[in-house]
Amino acid sequence: MTDSTAPGQQVATPADARDDTLAIAPNPPRRALGLHRRLSRVWANDPGWWGHVTAVNHTTLGLRFMGTALVFFLVGGVLAMLIRAQLATHDGAFLDTELYNQIFTMHGSIMMFLFAIPMLEGLAIYLLPKLLGTRDMAFPRLTALGYWCYLFGGLIMLTALLFGVAPRDGWFMYTPLSGATYSPGINADVWLLGVTFVEISALCAAVEITVTILRQRAPGMKLTEMPLFAWYMLGTSVMMLVGFPPLILASVLLEIERAFDWPFFAVARGGDPLLWQHLFWLFGHPEVYIIFLPAAGVLSTLIPVLCRTQIMGYGAIVASVLALVFLSFGLWVHHMFTVGIPHMALAFFSAASLLVAVPTVVQVFAWIGTMWQGRPQLVLPMYHILGFFLTFVMGGLTGVMLAVVPFNWQAHDTAFVTAHLHYVLIGGFVFPMMAAAVWWMPQITGRERVRGLGEAAFWVILIGFHGTFFIMHLTGLLGMPRRIDVYPDNPEWVWLNLTSSIFGFVMTIGFGLFVLDMALQAFMGQKQRRDPWRAPTLDWAMPLPAPPYTFASIPAPQHLDLPAREVITILARGEGLLPGAPRDRRELLTTSLGTARPDHVALLPGNTALPLGLASAIGGFVLLMLAGLYALTLLPLVLVAMLIWRWGRGMVRPVDDAPIEVAPGLSLPLQGWRRRTLGWTGSVCLLVANGTLFASLVFGIGFLALVASEWPGPEARVTSAALPWVAIAALMPVLGALAQRRSDALQRRGGDGSAAAGLGVVANSVAVAALAVLALGHMDDPTQHARDALRGVLAGYVALHALIGAGMAGFAMDQFRRAEITARHAGLLPVWRLWQDYAAVTALVAALLAVGLGMSA
């Protein structure tokens, strides 16, 4: 069933041959229609318009993500056309510079944050449960929350564009240009707050993609045998967990600098603009691999089926993903080759940037080898795949050129780079996504494509694209910098730019045709028979269009090796695991991380408007920040806290459930009986992201202390009188961790741990109080110097974590009181434990750092 088994064996040892395969007996077949009806009732969205508000289903939300991303792509495309129209002549009379700057900034920001990332999230959310043989993503409400955050953040940015106050400092927002002095007004704040808002959605998606892949694969689908797309998405989501926090930190710091004048990037007070660049590109480079990996996953899925063979080099591809995930975090300085870093440091990053090409080359040859091994069919998705090869190979080659330091010194920040990045992004992401669209549209709409139009769109796009961007390499080498709106003194660039502009419009027509093609298919296509591509993967083992519950029963190990068309009926008749919805609630199967042995049955929440409420509260906070009404932001924050509490209450499950027989002779407990629930795994993911944020902060402190010119700063006023308070703030979270352990011990014995949990509330609260004392009475004015601003940030970080720790302790206390925590049901305790331990460790580190930054005797 996976497209992986046979090729995987070439590197596998005999030890992992299939002799230890799980044996799970099939359930007796039932009437498919009956199962379908009941399942549909349980899993469907609410009826009417209210149903749109409360939907949490992955199919609905995945499509919604992709649809919204498509709209943003069109907006970004219109902006691109404005840029191209302006550049068509040398004095580009029609936009003034201020507006032009907003337009290219918004084009870049929209394409990266509001199109590419949400598009791949949407694809993963839509596809993964179907591909892995489960019924939904691990945290459906989080999916919805992510969507609303994305939508609201995007709308804030679009609104700003309509009112002419959009960001205008380029999509990487370099300080000091984006600082308060040189960018007064709210333009830059729109970017910082809007993008951060959207990033919440990226983190939500990353957490649940990781958990879904690790814990919800169909029984027997080992990690090393799962479809390659899942490997790619696993790599992507881990990169998102680690890649986004540096940017979130940078955005928060810059927003604090702009709003409250705490210096982090301002040179005169101990900041350094290069800190921004490091943090931004620490995110920014992995970002392009985050965009590329899912597209490569699509290619690895489509190519073997289109060639009627199996993927070549499954193991080599998995290894490539592993290498890319790591290596792409070691390249960020190649965006900073001209900032005046010593040659040896540049050389490290040059070498790493060259090396990262290796796993990509391995994949490209694995794909071509697959095509040799099979019989490629020249159908529309294959056109787009060929478009990918042509375009992406050239983009990759200019990429390795740019990794060569001296060449980069010339080409950096010119049209050459603009050409390169579009070759990589359009070649490496847009073409594969178009292939994916053609591939999965039958499943989404249940209809066939209208012949001819798609092919025409492909050719027009391909010709338009290369006509636009190929000569742009030359434009750049002839000296044209990026981000300029006029070039009155350079007639030699005119014909190049004019050509690019004309073909740019050709490409736009092509994209128009593409969208038209999809619309025609959706509304006028013939009804599609099942499994149109004769695919081996589970995503086609269901009726078309995909039902909300995906599988009437979860595939068993013996189903994984059969082609999709044969599995459809088996699963629809309930012969797999956990058939139907006999208990009228949303249930799915969780499995073990490596070998996918059945572990427990998880209950998923149903439709709810809570995600919309929470996103709106966060949106309120963002808007008040934008309006400069900082005092009022407390209101939405309190609302956020209250809604999160309700969210948690919504996760509480009945305690008296008996084990469920998911297959003859196989009974599994409900999630409440396990300490390692999906929520627990999700919390680990969240802490990984949080830890990266903290590590970035530590990096920032070290960087400024070492490199910034105005260090050490003015004499610190803070004295050793502060030390006792620092000690309290650092040790109270540790006490909280001890209180947690006490409640754990009591829970295991079936005792009442509410007093111990109460101690946790008190300990965390005392930590917050101690920090308040420090802030009000002992610390230096944070606007004075970066050192003091950083101390302020550390204090805030510890306080926030203690506050959340107190909230969790309180929640657990409440659960003890309600008897929701019993000897068998740990309730929130395991998650609180993770959090409290993390809070304790970071509090200690933060205290050491704060003291280490220096004080007077």
Partner: protein
């Protein structure tokens, strides 16, 4: 190779009249880098062609192939030597154009939104010119690049790579011009609404005439001030 030809053609069309072109170098650093570019372009054309040919050959009946040949021999075996060579070439050129502490002439470059100030030492004290850089031909010059507002980037494409002007730090860039003549420079890092017009001219004079040219420029400057 075909790609190289396609690229050369417009170059010929554009003529030599491209004062900001990296492809018509007027100094050793730019020449080294342009050489690097032409070699890399040739290599890239060959590799693109290779991939396209392999792709075209894929269309046909299934073939017996060995995965190892593709993933290991082509994937690793082809890429490592190419990339290793590129690293070595890049390092070699990079080391050649690096500034050394050999007492070369130093000119201060200060970037301001949106103009350039060049300060050169002369027997009569430092001479500052605005948007006009005067260089002696045939001699290495170290430019000490600073900024006090936002980040800019100093770039004379015909002489060599760019170097950012960043508040709070002093960056050093070594350039050398072959022969007397007029060249052009510009800001290469986006720096606000004046970015596109933040240009300067570069006047290369015989090394012997350099101090005099500077004196003339200083007098010009006085005249402007009056």
């Amino acid at each position: 190779m075909r790609g190289a030809l396609v690229l050369m053609l417009p170059l010929v069309l554009a003529g030599c009249d491209s004062p900001l072109s990296t492809l018509t170098p007027a100094g050793p650093a730019a020449r080294d880098i342009a050489g690097l570019w032409w070699v890399m372009l040739g290599g890239a054309a060959v590799l693109t062609l290779l991939v396209l040919v392999l792709l075209a050959m894929a269309f046909g009946p299934p073939r017996q192939v060995r995965a190892r040949v593709w993933t290991h021999w082509l994937g690793l075996g082809l890429s490592f030597p190419v990339l290793g060579a590129m690293l070595a070439a890049g390092l070699w050129v990079g080391e050649r154009v690096l500034p050394r502490d050999d007492g070369a002439l130093q000119i201060k470059v200060h970037a301001v939104q949106w103009f350039w100030e060049f300060t050169a030492p002369s027997p009569d004290g430092p001479v500052t010119t605005r948007d006009r850089l005067i260089l002696p031909a045939g001699e290495p010059v170290d430019l000490i690049i600073t900024s006090s507002d936002v980040i800019h980037s100093f770039w004379v494409p015909q002489l060599g790579g760019k170097m950012d002007a960043i508040p709070g730090r002093e960056n050093r860039l070594r350039l050398q011009a072959d022969a007397p003549g007029r060249l052009a420079g510009q800001c290469a890092e986006f720096c606000g609404v004046g970015h596109a017009v933040m240009r300067f001219e570069v006047e290369v004079v015989e090394a012997g005439d350099w101090e005099e040219a500077l004196r003339d420029a200083a007098n010009d400057g006085d005249a402007e001030d009056d």
